[in-house]
Every structure is written in structure tokens, then in C-alpha cells.
């Protein structure tokens, strides 16, 4: 039977259209000369120029980036520790409770996490006088508590599928537990660490809800800035900004994809070589 599955192809086209037409329209309209978002007034790159002259946007982008870098790094460290505890310490008191507590924020509505973080910061300011004002620090802390959960889940899954005997072998060969961690466990789960970090970074950099609750005056992240600007109507410079973000994300994803594909292809070739050498 050689008939093309027309129905399937139609579904596929609709699917892609659903995903990409909004994105394409943003890209197209970012090159719009007109001030009106929905009216095409000819090709221009003026909005990109305006973007780089806009200090507010540049500042917000810098703030978002530094919050994401710091929170992703700390979340990865803490999340890895929790993941190791869950995967490797088989029998300790309250393990199930710990596991539940760690993963609960995954299903907790973001708005609840946001409110509770805000409440905590207000109470802490009352009791111990810290944090004095909300901004970079409070947003970073809130992002860490939230994104750490994702890192924990990734690391736990990765460790559960890793043969524990390689760690035992290292102990057996004379390494102390902390040496086993640095020599064996961390290098072996390095890809999971990287994907955990990237996920935490992504979660942090596009978060609106939690940031909204935990930030203060003077600390406006990029998503919050976009949100507040869009409330007054979508302007073409937002389209330009969105296009830049799409470009950066696209380049990152494609690069990561190529690197992983090459590594996988090399690995398969090596295995094939080993099999051939053996016979």
C-alpha cells in the first residue's frame, strides 16, 4: 500500500501551524516600520536600534540574567545534594516524607509558592530585620526553592539508573566517600547536572508569577518589564526583543542538539568497533 497518510500529514501541519505561526508573526512584525502592531508599514530594523538605546530593557535583561545564573547554580548544588540523598541513602528515617517535601513544589501552583515566599520574607523582615528590602536577593532565593525541585528530580532519576557498584568499586579501591563523589559520581552524572542547570536557568529567566510576589521597587526583571509594557499595548520594540530571545534560544538548542547527536554517533561507532574487534 503506497497511499500517503493524508490525515496524519494534515494533523502534523496543523500542529506546526499552531506552534509556529504566533512566533513567526512576532518575528515578521518586529521588522515593521509602522508604530501600529497589526498594520504592516514596510520593512525596517529601527526597533532593534531602539531596543539597544533603551536602558530600562538592558538593565532588566542584565538583572534577569544574573538572577538566573546565580539561582540556577545554587539550585543545582542543593538539588544535587537532595537527589543524592534520595537515591543513595536507601534507609533513613523520614525518607518518604523528605521525598514528598522535595517534590511537592513541582505540583504546587506557582501563585501559592509566590504568596508563601512573600509571607516568609515579610515575617523574616519583622523578626530578624532581614531582608530589609525585596529585590535581587529575595527573587533569587524564591527561584532557588522553586527550581531546585526540578534539579532534584533529574538527578534522582539519573542516579537511580546508574549502577551503584561503580561507586562501591571506588570505595573498595581506597577512596573515601567524598573522593568517590568528586572522582566518580559527579563526572558520571555530569550530563544530568548540565540539563538540571539549564532547566533551572530557563525556569528562572522566564518566571513572572513568583518574581512578581518577591521583587521590590527598583528590581524589575525582563519578563516583568515585558508584562508591564504589554499591559499598555504591544509595541514593536517588544516584538524585536522577543525575536532576539527566540534567536538566542534557537541557536542554543540547535548547538546542544548537534553536540549531543555527534557524541551519540561517536559512541555508537565505538561500540560497533568493539563488537567487530571481538569477533
Amino acid at each position: 500500500m503506497n497511499r500517503r497518510p493524508v490525515f496524519l500529514i494534515t494533523c502534523l501541519c496543523f500542529g506546526f501551524a499552531f506552534f509556529y505561526i504566533p512566533i513567526l508573526s512576532i518575528i515578521v512584525f518586529s521588522f515593521n516600520k509602522s508604530r501600529l502592531v497589526s498594520v504592516w508599514g514596510g520593512f525596517s530594523t529601527q526597533w532593534y536600534g531602539k531596543l539597544f538605546e533603551n536602558d530600562q530593557i538592558i538593565e532588566a535583561a542584565k538583572l534577569s540574567l544574573s538572577i538566573a545564573l546565580v539561582s540556577a547554580t545554587i539550585a543545582t548544588i542543593l538539588g544535587t545534594m537532595a537527589g543524592i540523598a534520595l537515591a543513595r541513602f536507601k534507609r533513613f528515617r523520614g525518607r518518604t516524607l523528605f521525598s514528598g517535601l522535595v517534590t511537592a513544589p513541582l505540583i504546587m501552583p506557582e501563585i501559592i509558592t509566590g504568596i508563601s515566599s512573600l509571607m516568609l520574607f515579610i515575617l523574616m523582615a519583622d523578626w530578624i530585620g532581614w531582608p530589609g528590602e525585596r529585590g535581587f536577593t529575595t527573587v533569587t532565593i524564591a527561584h532557588i526553592t522553586f527550581s531546585m525541585t526540578y534539579v532534584t528530580t533529574i538527578i534522582h532519576a539519573r542516579l537511580s539508573s546508574t549502577d551503584i557498584s561503580i561507586e562501591e568499586a571506588a570505595l573498595d579501591l581506597g577512596s573515601r566517600p567524598w573522593q568517590v563523589l568528586t572522582d566518580i559520581t559527579l563526572p558520571v552524572i555530569a550530563p544530568a547536572l548540565l540539563s538540571g542547570w539549564l532547566l533551572a536557568f530557563t525556569i528562572s529567566i522566564d518566571d513572572v508569577v513568583i518574581t512578581n510576589f518577591t521583587t521590590g521597587p527598583g528590581a524589575t526583571t525582563l519578563p516583568i518589564l515585558i508584562w508591564s509594557k504589554v499591559k499598555l499595548g504591544v509595541t514593536p520594540d517588544i516584538n524585536a526583543l522577543a525575536t532576539m530571545i527566540i534567536l538566542i534560544v534557537g541557536v542554543l538548542v540547535v548547538t546542544a542538539g548537534i553536540i549531543m547527536h555527534r557524541a551519540e554517533a561517536r559512541r555508537e561507532r565505538d561500540i560497533q568497533m568493539a563488537i567487530n574487534a571481538n569477533t
Binding site: E168, G174, S175, V188, I275, N278
Partner: protein, 372 residues
């Protein structure tokens, strides 16, 4: 009653009344073993018999619930793995996937007090020993299963431990490679003189490799002895049935003196004559066990044999070098008889065919009497 051989003078590994419980389950139950320096000792048993748990307690990965372990006179019962003069070869080999063959072998040496040159020499020596020098730069996923097994062996031997523990060292290899590797392991053990403790579920592997075997069942050591001991002189129904094949049936001692033992066995319709056994007394119930290759099969009634039985060939298997007959006695008891095909004969010239009436005979010395 537990098998014990602590009487041996000053063994290298002394395991005293070792017990390990996981919740309600007793994995290892009051085990005492002494292993001499330079021995190739096998722990043999089916899955769940506690052999691996015992090995892991020797390595330091499990803490005993009770009992003590001494290695070279030092109590190591509660020492962590990295403080024991013991190295282990894992069933999965547990090679470090992100390190080359050479780095894997060298890993344990970084904790040893030696110069870089000494370290390099030792690694080269180990790679030579397992013939992997040309593959030193490869990663574990770039080499075959048999090569990985040798890397694991070289890595465990590099620190020159007092004891090498091997967890099912051949289980992951195919049959042909297994036979070859078996001799290689024995050879390396001989060359290095290191004491090997091997865990295996494969009785042939245990018998060809080991100088002594501990047969384990449900956490208990049933018997410790050489391959010949456990095969020819099993001390219990379990060991007799676990190692090789055997026919067992019940009987009652009628006479026990300095020259012989007579046992009445209703299933054979008569008296079985066995060697003298001081432990037995009249009216004692025993299990009579005879190995298939110890029984002679003939068409005519044999003369001057102590134990003669008659039956009908129920089943017949031809394996080339030998044949297996299953002979049914009038009582319904079926005896397995293994007969070597020492003469070339066509199918019609065999000693016996299906449904033939045959005679079985065996020497009193071949009869094993078991009370446990």
C-alpha cells in the same frame, strides 16, 4: 549444626559466627569459615543462599548483624571498604565509564604511597598480566565484554590486596569464553599467590576453579571441602542433590559393624550393603544415595557383586561419549545410570533398549549414607 572449620591453624580470613539480617529475613546465618593464605576458595549456592551477602560483608559493603571477620589477624568487622586489604571484582565489572582502561587500572593506586614511576610500572605490569596493553587508551564502552572482565580483574589486582573477592566472575561471558577465562583466573591466582574468594552459582565453575568449596543454602554453610569431598562424600541430602546428579531413596540400618553396614531399603526389595560407618547404629533411618556413573548396567545377572538390582529401561539418552539410562524397579523407584560408551556400537548393538530388562550393580564403597 553448622559446618565449621575454625580448627585450622591461623587462617588468613577468619569468619566467626557471622550473621546478617535484613528485617525479618536472615541472609547469612551463623557462618564460620577459615580461609588459608593462597587458597582459591569458592562460595557455591543457588540464588538467595546468602553467598553474595557474605562476600559483601568481607568487602565491607554490608555490616554484619552479629559475628566477627578477621583478615590477617586484624578485626575488620566494622572497617569501611577503603580501609580493608581486600579488593573486589564486581559481577557487572563496575568499570568507571569516563576513564580509559589505563586510568581504571591506575585508580586504586593514587591512594598508595608510591612514586609516579612505580605507579606507571605497576599499571603496565597489570595490563601485561591480562594482555590488554594495546587497549590501554580505550574507554570501557569501546572494548568487548571479555576485555572488560579482564580490566576489572587487573584493576582489582593492581593494589596487590591480601584477598581478592570475585562476584560471579564468569556469569556475563558466553560459554566458550567462560571455559578459557576459568583457566586464566586460576593461572593468575597461581602467579600472584593472592587469596581468591569466588562467589558462584555454577558448580562446574566452583569444582574446576577452587581448592575448597563452601556449599551454601538458606544462609547456612552446608559443607566445606574440596571438589572431591563435596562430590564423593556429601554430608547431607542437600549437598548430595545440589552437586551433580544422584538417585536417593530411604532405608533403615539393620547391621553396622567394623567391616560393613547393611541397610534395608524397601524400594529396592532387599538389603543394600555399604562401607562401615561408625556413626550409624541399627534401626536408624538413613537416605541411600548413589551417583549414576557408579552403577554398572548389564543384560546378564552379574556375579560376585554386593548390590544387585533388576529393572526395566524406562528412558534412554545418548550423549556420544556416554549414555544415560533411567531404570525403573518393580517398586516404582527410578535409578539413573550413566554408562560410558567405551566401545563403538550401532543403535541396535546397545547394551539395552527401551523396555529391556536389565541388571544394575554397584560396589558398597559407592553407596553414600546420609542422615541429614
Amino acid at each position: 549444626m553448622h559446618a565449621s572449620d575454625l580448627q585450622r591453624p591461623d587462617p588468613l580470613i577468619r569468619i566467626e559466627h557471622l550473621t546478617k539480617q535484613f528485617g525479618d529475613f536472615t541472609a547469612v546465618d551463623n557462618v564460620s569459615i577459615g580461609i588459608e593464605k593462597g587458597e582459591l576458595f569458592a562460595l557455591l549456592g543457588g540464588s538467595g543462599c546468602g553467598k553474595t551477602t557474605l562476600l559483601r560483608m568481607l568487602a565491607g559493603f554490608e555490616t554484619p548483624s552479629a559475628g566477627r571477620i578477621f583478615i590477617d589477624g586484624k578485626d575488620v568487622t566494622n572497617s569501611p571498604p577503603y580501609e580493608r586489604p581486600v579488593n573486589m571484582m564486581f559481577q557487572s565489572y563496575a568499570l568507571f565509564p569516563h576513564m580509559s582502561v589505563e586510568k581504571n587500572v591506575a585508580y586504586g593506586l593514587k591512594h598508595e604511597n608510591m612514586t609516579d614511576a612505580q605507579r606507571r610500572d605497576r599499571v603496565r605490569e597489570m595490563l601485561d598480566l591480562v594482555q590488554l596493553t594495546p587497549l590501554a587508551g580505550r574507554k570501557p564502552h569501546q572494548i568487548s565484554g571479555g576485555q572488560r572482565q579482564r580490566v576489572a580483574l587487573a584493576r582489582a589486582l593492581a593494589k596487590q590486596p591480601k584477598v581478592l573477592l570475585l562476584d560471579e566472575p564468569l556469569a556475563a561471558l558466553d560459554k566458550k569464553l567462560r571455559e578459557h577465562t576459568q583457566f586464566e583466573i586460576a593461572n593468575i591466582q597461581y602467579k600472584t599467590g593472592i587469596t581468591f574468594v569466588v562467589v558462584t552459582h555454577d558448580q562446574e565453575e566452583a569444582m574446576t576453579l577452587a581448592s575448597r568449596i563452601a556449599v551454601m543454602d538458606k544462609g547456612i554453610v552446608r559443607q566445606i571441602g574440596s571438589a572431591t569431598d563435596v562430590y564423593e562424600y556429601p554430608n547431607s541430602r542437600f549437598v548430595a542433590g545440589f552437586i551433580g546428579s544422584i538417585t536417593m531413596f530411604e532405608g533403615v540400618v539393620t547391621e553396622s559393624n567394623k567391616t560393613h553396614t547393611l541397610v534395608e531399603a524397601p524400594q529396592t526389595g532387599g538389603i543394600i550393603r555399604a562401607r562401615a560407618d561408625q556413626r550409624l547404629s541399627p534401626n536408624q533411618k538413613v537416605t541411600i544415595a548413589v551417583r549414576p556413573e557408579k552403577i554398572a548396567l548389564s543384560r546378564e545377572r552379574p556375579e560376585n557383586e554386593a548390590n544387585v538390582l533388576s529393572g526395566i529401561v524406562q528412558d534412554l539418552g545418548y550423549f556420544g561419549k556416554d549414555s544415560l539410562y533411567r531404570v525403573k524397579l518393580p517398586s516404582g523407584l527410578v535409578l539413573s545410570v550413566n554408562s560410558v560408551n567405551s566401545r563403538r556400537a550401532g543403535e541396535n548393538e546397545r547394551i539395552a533398549q527401551w523396555e529391556d530388562q536389565v541388571w544394575l550393580s554397584f560396589d558398597p564403597s559407592s553407596v553414600i549414607l546420609l542422615t541429614e
